[in-house]
């Protein structure tokens, strides 16, 4: 045997030639094999096994060459493996590592060789012996060898499960897999091989199923499974399910603080590798049957990892907190808060509620009377904010959990308060005021305050800051009266009125915009003015319109109680009022509402109806105030409903010119059917529509509707219809039916008259 150094040099030379000219491998390998055999020096064996692994892994060596060469190296590989048996000493792990890599690379080629040479049992037997040695020893070997064994297994599984036949005509292009094997092969039994592969796959997956914390083996396994998932459909689901169920974060259960640096690195690496694996599968096939689960699992791992590692970064370590009862801190905090009756401490009134605070001096509201909990947040909470169905769910358990002792105590407290309040002497206005300002006045020292301006400022500052603190401690807020401001001049009134007006209509415009943006807004259950009472619900279009119409109709109601006659005058003689005073808030709002309606009368006709109803109602109230003794109903004709009549006509005057054929007829019908009262003038205006040949039909429909569904004006409407019909022209045809149905006698009479005329003429 020559000097290993010089041999190595020649070997390197040979390798360099091979790398530069891959075609020379078939000549080099046979020459190299005797020099790197089991009998040779360690360095030569190391070099040899590395070289063999490199050769059979190299993508520049053709498959045909590899298959031929693989037959030659089997014995060398086996001699590395069996060094202990043959020579009596363990082989170097580095040599074994490379040998196992090489075995993994040649396995498919040996398989294909045996396929095409069914008579050569011996080659397959030698490969099988190498395989069994690897499988037998890998678990006890160095981890470096073990992971190469893992890769070897995955390669065996890849070969021994059926793959795709890409092109049956060119077998040399096909992937080497069980699919190439026929049923009647002398050496290879498909069922046996497949069973073996299945067992080996289970062995691979076992690492994941056990939630192993050995990061090296786990990541090596995951990374070697990818090829199987991609290329072997028959087993990919099984692998995926195992990986999905694998929890790399198991070691973190005890908390990150309990882990050393090595465990943290391992934890993070396993988790990230699992995520990469899942993402890779998902990316390859986004329509995978398990795509959703893959995605969910990835997200879940991401979040858990962030959660775990945000506790303490790699550089910082929090104080070790080892839970003794298996609970984390959050859970324990919640458990500690848990009290009887299923309520937590925060929901329970504090201890001092057993001795409720005495009522504040002065006027007392019901709320103050019943408020036992001094917590201001409880007092400001509006129960209506809880949806009804949740209230329904809450009430029964709440009723069941009421502590009767505490209920009695609360009742007694309220009772005592009430009695105490009853016994109070009625307060004078001065006393009320004093009660409000009370405590501050005690500290008030006019002498010192007047002396120095600076001191005074300091004291004032102190006073400014004092009340909130005092209130915080005292609990319920005491009633407070603000000093009335100076009386407004007329100009100011007008100015503020206009500002207020523009502000409310701005809000309305904004709401309209919102509604247009979000058309599918749900309709609140609460209707009418009540919706304004609760903070959130009132802020919609209907709520604002209700507010506006009430402002328009009711602002003057009651203000002029003292001079009823003036009211009558003011309302009945509008022109006079308008001359006298250029602007009143009520009329301003009315005009604005009208303008608002006319901007888009087809959609806002409901606003007009709502508003006119309010006007009518308000007029009636005024009428009753004026005529308390009379039970007679007010009528439009007598001018008893001044605002209503005026604005009804104004609205119609503005509306009618814009009416168009088509659906506007319905708008008009709706308007006329829903307003509370109609007089003859209204009908006259409607009848004018018949002058327009295009609107005759609409006019007849409106009148017909009123005749049929509005009995109070039926006779008036028939009268008008007959009138139009008599006028003749286009209207005659359209109104013929109406008249024929509702005033047949007119028709007959007319026919008779006409007949007479005809006769006369004739």
């Amino acid at each position: 045997m020559g000097d290993p150094g010089s041999i190595l040099r020649s070997l390197n030379e040979a390798r360099n030639i091979c790398l530069a000219t891959p075609a020379t491998y078939p000549q080099v390998i046979p020459g190299v094999l005797p020099v790197i055999g089991a009998q040779q020096h360690l360095d030569l064996r190391r070099w040899g096994s590395d070289f063999l692994a490199e050769t059979f892994a190299s993508p520049v060596v053709s498959g045909e060459d590899k298959q031929k060469l693989s037959l030659l190296v089997l014995d060398t590989l086996r001699s590395y493996q069996n060094r202990r048996e043959e020579i009596g000493e363990d082989e170097d792990p580095a040599v074994i590592k490379s040998a196992v890599q090489c075995a993994a690379s040649i396995y498919p080629y040996i398989f294909r060789h045996t396929l095409s040479h069914p008579d050569t049992t011996e080659v397959w037997a030698r490969m099988a012996s190498i395989k069994s040695t690897i499988l037998r020893t890998m678990d006890d070997s160095a981890p470096g060898v073990r992971i190469c064994g893992v890769k070897f297994i995955s390669r065996v599984v890849l070969v021994q499960t059926p793959g795709l036949i890409a092109d049956p005509r060119r077998p040399e292009l096909n992937e080497i897999s069980l699919a190439l094997l026929g049923r009647d092969h002398a050496v290879l039994q498909p069922s046996q091989l497949e069973a073996e592969a299945s067992g080996l796959l289970d062995r691979l997956l076992g690492v994941l199923q056990d939630n192993s914390s050995d990061a090296l083996v786990v990541t090596a396994t995951l990374n070697s499974l990818a090829a199987l998932v991609h290329r072997r459909a028959s087993i990919s689901n099984k692998i995926l399910m195992t990986v999905l169920n694998f929890n790399p974060l198991t070691p973190a259960k005890a908390g990150l603080a309990a882990m050393g640096g090595r465990e943290r690195v391992a934890l993070k690496s396993m988790t990230k590798t699992t995520m990469s694996f899942l993402v890779n599968v998902l990316k390859r096939n986004p329509n995978h049957a398990l795509a959703l689960r893959l995605q969910q699992r990835t997200e879940q791992l991401k979040h858990s990892m962030v959660e775990i590692f945000s506790e303490s970064g790699p550089g910082k370590r929090s104080a070790p907190d080892e839970p003794t009862d298996g609970l984390d801190n959050n859970k324990r905090a919640r458990l500690n808060n848990e009290v009887t009756n299923g309520t937590t401490a925060q929901q329970q009134p504090p201890q001092q509620s057993t001795s409720p605070q005495p009522l504040p001096p002065g006027e007392v509201s019901y709320r103050e009377l019943f408020t036992l909990n001094p917590d201001p947040s409880a007092a400001s909470f509006h129960v209506e904010a809880i949806p009804l169905h949740i209230v329904n769910q809450l009430v029964l358990p709440l009723l069941g959990s009421i502590d009767s002792a505490r209920l009695t105590a609360a009742l007694t407290a309220v009772q005592r308060r009430y009695l105490e309040f009853k016994q109070r002497p009625p307060l004078t206005a001065l006393q009320s005021a004093m009660a409000v300002l009370g405590e501050e006045d005690e500290d008030y020292d006019p002498g010192t305050e007047m002396t120095l301006a600076g001191d005074r400022a300091a004291v004032m500052n102190g006073l400014d800051q004092a009340p909130p603190q005092g209130q915080m401690n005292e609990g319920p807020i005491q009633p407070i009266t603000l000093e009335p401001g100076p009386p407004l001049t007329l100009q100011e009134k007008e100015q503020y009125g206009k500002i207020a007006l523009t502000r409310v209509f701005e809000t309305l415009a904004n709401i309209d915009k919102d509604v247009q943006l979000k058309p599918g807004k749900k309709v609140d259950e609460a209707k009418g003015f009540n919706r304004l009472a609760s903070t959130n619900m009132g802020h919609d279009r209907e709520g604002w319109i209700m507010l506006l119409t009430r402002l328009a109709t009711r602002t003057t109601l009651g203000l002029n109680d003292t001079n009823e006659t003036l009211v009558k005058q003011e309302n009945s003689e509008r022109s006079l009022v308008k001359n006298g005073q250029s602007f009143t808030l009520a009329d301003g709002i009315r005009d604005s509402v009208l303008a608002y309606v006319m901007d888009d009368f087809r959609r806002r006709i409901d606003v007009a109806i709502m508003w006119l109803n309010e006007e009518w109602f308000c007029d009636r109230l005024l009428y009753q105030q004026r005529n308390t003794d009379e039970s007679e109903r007010p009528t439009m004709l007598d001018g008893d409903l001044p605002n209503y009549t005026h604005y009804l006509h104004t609205t119609l005057d503005r509306l009618i010119p814009f009416l168009d054929t088509g659906k506007d007829g319905r708008t008009l019908i709706r308007f006329l059917s829903e307003i509370p009262e109609i007089d003859g003038k209204v009908l006259d205006k409607v009848c004018k529509l018949a002058d327009d040949p295009e609107l005759v039909q609409m006019c007849s429909q409106v009148l017909l509707y009123l005749i049929m569904f509005r009995p109070p004006v039926r006779s008036m409407a028939i009268e008008r219809a007959v009138g139009v019909w008599r006028r003749g022209g286009d209207a005659r045809a359209a109104f013929g039916k109406v008249v024929g149905r509702w005033a047949p006698e007119v028709l007959k009479e007319e026919e008779g008259g006409a007949g007479g005329e005809v006769k006369g003429e004739a």
Partner: protein, 332 residues
């Protein structure tokens, strides 16, 4: 001048056919004879009577960042100019090489694999010498020019194809019909063809001839994801284990310097462990049995190299807490 930026040493002479007093290393590493005395490094002490590689066992490294310009190239330079230099190659995982331009939305963009650092340098020099000098791009490219020919893309790396002879526009090997690689390298622009560009001119070439590595170090988690994903997609045809690390380094010149230093430390620690693993067997009398190996090796050394990687990374992380690290064992 930065001693690391000295011109690459001349290519090694063709091996002498006559036996040499100084045996050439396993990796053919002969170039670093002028490197500091190896006696300072324990792993390189030659024991009489035992055959040792002249420069000891070397893991093969691969550094990866987004554009194969700043972080990976700094690390490449560090690893190959260390007292005991490592075989190193480097890549970028981005779709294109992006260098800062006059504003944030006007980057200078180049193709991977067929644009040389020298041509980028010349272009930027002619564009705006002052700007690119002040923002450090020109000095960076100058450094890169001395390390290797041009940026390479990880996804286009044909793993296991020998890196010998002429560079980049290598013909895809036609011999192997089973070869999964696809003709990913477009012929470069005529202007870019550089006849003198050979793999052996790269710093840290010795040892990377076979086109495989033992360790991949990425400089950003995104790159680690890309590398691991790419390796999963390739289906690991080589059956060769590779440790893929990530060391999070911010993409600026200062952090790249710090990161390069940290990566070199990690490399030293890993290589020491790998060497130890090999030495344990030798010390045990050339494999005289588990008992001897057990006695001679320290507890650490008895654990194999691969097994110790998480531990090495953990202790490295304690020293470099600002560079969050990650690792996995993947397959080439």
């Amino acid at each position: 001048m930065d001693p690391r930026r000295r011109q690459p040493p001349p290519p090694p002479p063709p091996p002498d056919p006559t036996p040499d007093a100084n045996p050439i290393g396993l990796d053919g590493t002969t170039e670093e004879r002028e490197a500091p005395a190896p006696a300072t490094n324990g792993q390189q002490v030659q024991r009489p009577g035992e055959l040792q590689d002249e420069v000891g066992f070397k893991l093969k490294f691969c550094t990866v960042c987004a554009s194969n310009n700043n972080r990976s190239m700094e690390a490449h330079l560090r690893l190959t100019t260390a007292p005991s230099p490592y075989p190193t190659i480097s890549f970028g995982t981005g779709s294109l090489v992006r260098l800062p331009g006059p504003s944030i939305n006007q980057p200078n963009v180049y193709n991977f694999n067929n644009t040389s650092y020298a041509s980028m340098y010349n272009e930027l020099l002619s564009k705006d010498k002052r700007l690119y000098h002040n923002n450090g791009i020109l000095p960076m490219l100058e450094r890169n020019k001395g390390v290797k020919w041009g940026p390479e893309r990880w996804q286009d790396w044909r793993i296991g194809v020998p890196r010998v002879g002429k560079r980049a526009p290598a013909q895809p090997p036609a011999q192997n019909p089973l070869d999964p690689t696809n003709g990913q390298q477009q012929p470069p622009l005529a202007a870019e063809q550089d006849d003198s560009a050979e793999y052996k001119d790269d710093k840290g070439y010795q040892g990377t001839e076979a086109g495989t590595v033992d360790i991949v170090i990425t400089c950003e988690e995104r790159c680690w994801d890309a590398v691991v994903d790419d390796l999963l997609s390739r289906g690991s045809p080589l059956n060769r284990p590779v440790h893929v690390f990530n060391v999070d380094i911010k993409d600026n010149h200062e952090e790249a310097l710090v990161g390069g230093k940290a990566i070199l430390e990690l490399a030293d620690a890993l290589n020491a462990a790998a060497t130890e693993e090999r030495d344990v067997y030798v010390k045990g009398g050339g494999g005289g049995g588990a008992v001897n190996g057990f006695d001679s090796g320290s507890a650490h050394a008895r654990a194999g190299f691969d097994e110790r990687v998480p531990e090495i990374l953990a202790s490295w992380q304690e020293k470099w807490p600002t560079l969050p690290a990650l690792w996995t064992l993947a397959w080439l």
